[in-house]
Amino acid sequence: MNVRSQISMVFHLDKCLGCHTCSIACKNIWTSRKGAEYMWWNNVETKPGCGYPTRWENQEKYGGGWETSNGNLRMKSTGKGRAIFNIFHNPRLPSLDDYYEPWTYDYPELFNAPEGPDQPAARPVSKITGKLIQIQAGPNWDDDLGGSPVYAQNDRNLVGLTDEQRQQLSSIERLVLFYFPRICNHCLNPACVAACPSGALYKRGEDGIVLVDQKRCRAWRFCISACPYKKVFFNWLTYKSEKCILCFPRLETGQAPACFHSCVGRARYLGVLLYDADQIETAAKHRDEELIEAHRSMILDPRDPVVIQAALQNGIHSSVIEAAQKSPVYKFVKEWKLALPPHIEYRTLPMLFYIPPLSPVMAMQGKDKLVENVSVNLFHDIDEARLPMKFLANLFGAGHEGKVRYALRKVKAVRWYRRAVTVGDVDMATAEHMLREADSSPEEAEDIYRLTSLCALEDRVVIPPAHREETIERVEDTAEHQTNHGFGFLTELGRGM
């Protein structure tokens, strides 16, 4: 057992309101600079929808992630041999057109235009060329357009849905959408890291954050195509790849990452998971339908004395183990099994988990009919939902509905239980029966309810101490670095030659 700690995340999709506050917080801190304007390390997509970059889930085009062939795990688009031949031109690379050309507006024109019969207009100007452009696409171009034939029908997750289900998605009274906030998943088996010929991308051993070493990046671009979630971006000004850094400077000082801290819906949870790094390869090799379970079984119980012992031996600080015991992510992912990894079939073992949304399910039924359904088939309406189960399964279950249905049944049972407790218009016996059917109990339902609805920031975000003070002291004098060099660079200042 090779125990490592990983800062992991859960996004509760029922709580995401699609306000994009997270994206703005991130943009203001990290990517509001030349070369990075088009990057959205955090973005919120409408599902069904094309996403950002457009149709990023289309791995036939981008070749992201891993695949198994003859019992071996290999990257879909690159590898040691293929990187040599594709190093001059990466055939799977998305171009800026797949994102959008960043632009501003010709504001001076509003003041400088000569007098004339018309109001002057501030026309869009490309931030790359400085020339006037016709805007073809932009951030969140298909925001809130779930159901629209132009955008939503290009969603890759509609594969396997019947024509009837597809038509329902865009019909007036059944139209449905939910929000899908995305950041880097800080995977356990990151394809971006494995694809980098320069070894510039790496995973931090202590907390599992995946970073790009800016000085080592040589613009070979393989990380961009290899990441199946398209969360590595190319800075066209510095010619370096950049990605979400999980606000590690904030985490190291005990603050929640900006997107978590600013989340209006309080949909984001962050905490440490202990996992067995020896299992990474075997877990990623499982068949599609076994992947979620294999991924879950890598996550270790932080209260198990054997695990604690192994963790301490591996240099994990006791304060980190304590944080792991309080981790909200552990509860959602491992104990309650409510949170599921996105597109686990890409086999990067993402460490950002999603609680699938239930809202549209309940909204479809009238009250009377719902009660009737309960007496007939407790969970009937989950499968009758506006949002087809198959769609959620494509997104969160590698195409298999079992794990998604399990999570939704439990979420629904908790709702019924709380309805019985607080409003009392539904029968408590039925609610408890539903909980049992959903593999839960009133005690667990109370815990889920509390962490879902009554959670304060310190419940949602449990940050382990980074202990960077120990790190630096062990090898170098802290005073030596003081006032010596810029943020993120550890080279000594000197004459050079």
Partner: protein
């Protein structure tokens, strides 16, 4: 005219190469140490993805083969001349050299055209880039010209240029073997020196960072800050990989 050459020849073929290599070695290292961040392939593929294929791929494959040929001619002149004893072998070598030279030239012309046509790429092309492209055009055009109009270069390169280059290495420059060369040959050589001298000021530095441990490293890279030997080396060393 011949009088002019007698002054120019020593300057261009005995002095310039040392200046060029001095610049190449010292300034390249200096740039790596002071502005290592600027060592990059400067790929513009994200800005334009279609013409890119038809320019970089033929250019790089062409130039790689041609450059390898030059190096072989320099390192193994005797073996090369022996190999070329049988005319068919020489014909084959000459034709393939021409093909790959043309491939590189066509690729380069496509690359320059792409930079002119595509506004996004043009906007990000620096002055050193334009100078470099101009010099490369001269170099490839003169090279192809040699292959076409001064045939059997693969043999006469080994017999004339190699002794000259070796005399440079031993610090006893002997330019007798190339003093009588036609202008196009001299242009090719002088432009090569200029390219080498300007190397550290251009995007050519990406040639030096291609060899890397990717082929023999573990797929996953993990860096530890709390383990001995991490820290300063964290930027340079590969940590324990998991798989």
């Amino acid at each position: 005219m011949s009088n002019l050459w007698s002054y120019l020849d020593p300057l261009l073929f005995s002095v310039l190469p040392y200046v060029a290599f001095f610049s190449f070695f010292l300034l390249t290292i200096q740039r790596y140490r002071q502005r290592g961040f600027s060592y990059s392939s400067y790929s513009s593929q994200t800005l334009e993805n279609k013409l890119h294929f038809w320019s970089t791929v033929p250019f790089h494959y062409g130039i790689l083969v041609v450059l390898t040929g030059h190096v072989i001619g320099f390192l193994f002149p005797r073996q090369l001349l022996l190999f070329n004893r049988i005319p068919v072998r020489l014909y084959i070598l000459e034709v393939s050299a021409l093909i790959f030279g043309l491939l590189a030239l066509v690729g380069l012309i496509a690359a320059v055209s792409r930079r002119i046509i595509e506004p996004k790429v043009r906007g990000l092309t620096s002055v050193p880039d334009w100078i470099l492209y101009g010099m490369l055009l001269v170099q490839l055009a003169s090279g192809v010209n040699l292959a076409v109009f001064h045939s059997w270069g693969i043999s006469w390169f080994a017999a004339t240029a190699t002794p000259y280059l070796r005399s440079l290495l031993t610090l006893h420059p002997d330019i007798s073997s190339i003093a009588g060369m036609p202008f196009s040959v001299k242009l090719h050589i002088v432009n090569a020196y200029l390219l080498i001298g300007l190397f550290p000021f251009t995007r050519l530095v990406h040639i030096l960072i291609v060899p890397n441990p990717y082929l023999w490293r573990k797929p996953q890279v993990v860096r530890w800050y709390t383990r001995p030997g991490a820290t300063k080396a964290a930027g340079q060393r590969f940590g324990r990989g998991s798989i």
